[in-house]
Symmetry: C2
Subunit: 194 residues, 2 copies
């Protein structure tokens, strides 16, 4: 079984940067945007569509009953989820790596030697970060954070039947606002090596 | 400001052992049972009474309106809480240390250079640990864990107005069931030193 680091993260916490830094320090690949490309290829949908849809929930009972379904009863979200499963298992089988987001902690449970990490930060740091990274928007940064949190929580809950952001689902949870991105990365690297 | 490590922990997670090991490795004191002695001295109640009462909640509105109150309207719980505040601030002012439990993370916020840690473990490990450490009881281990979790959560919530076990309240959260007590201690020691 390959050693895989999964990084779940709050929007604006810098979790993606932590993941990239960890991968760089360990000399292993970090999958984030690359996964979207893979899922797009696998499912036949374009990357933009995947990026948007793959954080919407996937519950057959809650979703629109009139939504298009194929011959097997699969909705678009089902198809994307299946492509995502396949892409994540595929990269984990290739070799040690870091995977950011996409329920990889849940998908790979039992099939890889996992180090399950959650990255969070206080709301002030997150608000500052999203404006810096993605620019201003019509909505306030606080509202953007709240909506994204809600969406990620629903997506995780529906697909994994677990509570997103519950520390009990992770081996280690770190705050970038108190520890800094570099220190968080160093802790993960040390843990991976030991 | 002294550097203080506060360790909040789930019952049966081994958080107390982690705290002791960290203190030993750093050559600084670890306050746990010693705090109960201090609070007993300060409040005038015996240690057994403190140990029992200091995990019951402290809400004037929810608690028994007919409970005994002194001239200032303080209940027994209020008096113990005040003695606890004093004891914790006193030990933190003495020098760098580790403090296990007792809302020390909340009490010292802003008055010490804090590293706020939460220690958890999966329920199987916890159940095994409490039977090993405290013996069998009439209730099942699962029920004992559930009751203790509920009590700690209520105690923390009422006294701090924050959610107990919410990773956002801590700098780092660690699972002893996946990482082991020794490794958790090493991570905290490294963080403290850096």
């Amino acid at each position: 079984m390959n050693k895989v680091i999964t990084i779940s993260r709050e929007f604006g916490s810098g979790g993606r940067s932590v993941g990239k830094l960890v991968a760089e320090k360990l000399g292993i690949p970090c999958y984030d945007q690359e996964l979207i490309q893979k899922i797009a290829q696998e499912s036949g949908y374009c990357e933009e569509f995947i990026a948007e849809k793959s954080e919407h929930h996937n519950n057959k009972f809650l979703s629109n009953p009139f939504a298009f379904r194929d011959y097997y009863g699969n909705s678009i979200q089902d198809k994307i989820w299946l492509a995502q499963l396949k892409a994540i298992v595929e990269v984990a089988n290739k070799g040690p790596c870091v995977i950011v987001g996409r329920c990889a902690d849940f998908i790979l449970d039992g099939t890889a030697d996992l180090l399950k990490v959650f990255i969070h930060a206080d709301n002030k740091t997150r608000a500052h970060r999203i404006v810096e990274q993605y620019g201003e928007a019509e909505q306030s940064p606080e509202k953007r954070l709240k909506e994204k949190d809600k969406r990620r929580a629903a997506y995780y809950q529906v697909n994994t039947d677990k509570k997103w952001g519950d520390m009990k689902n992770y081996d280690i949870s770190l705050s970038t606002s108190s520890l800094g991105i570099e220190r968080c990365a160093d802790i993960i690297v040390e843990l991976y090596k030991s």
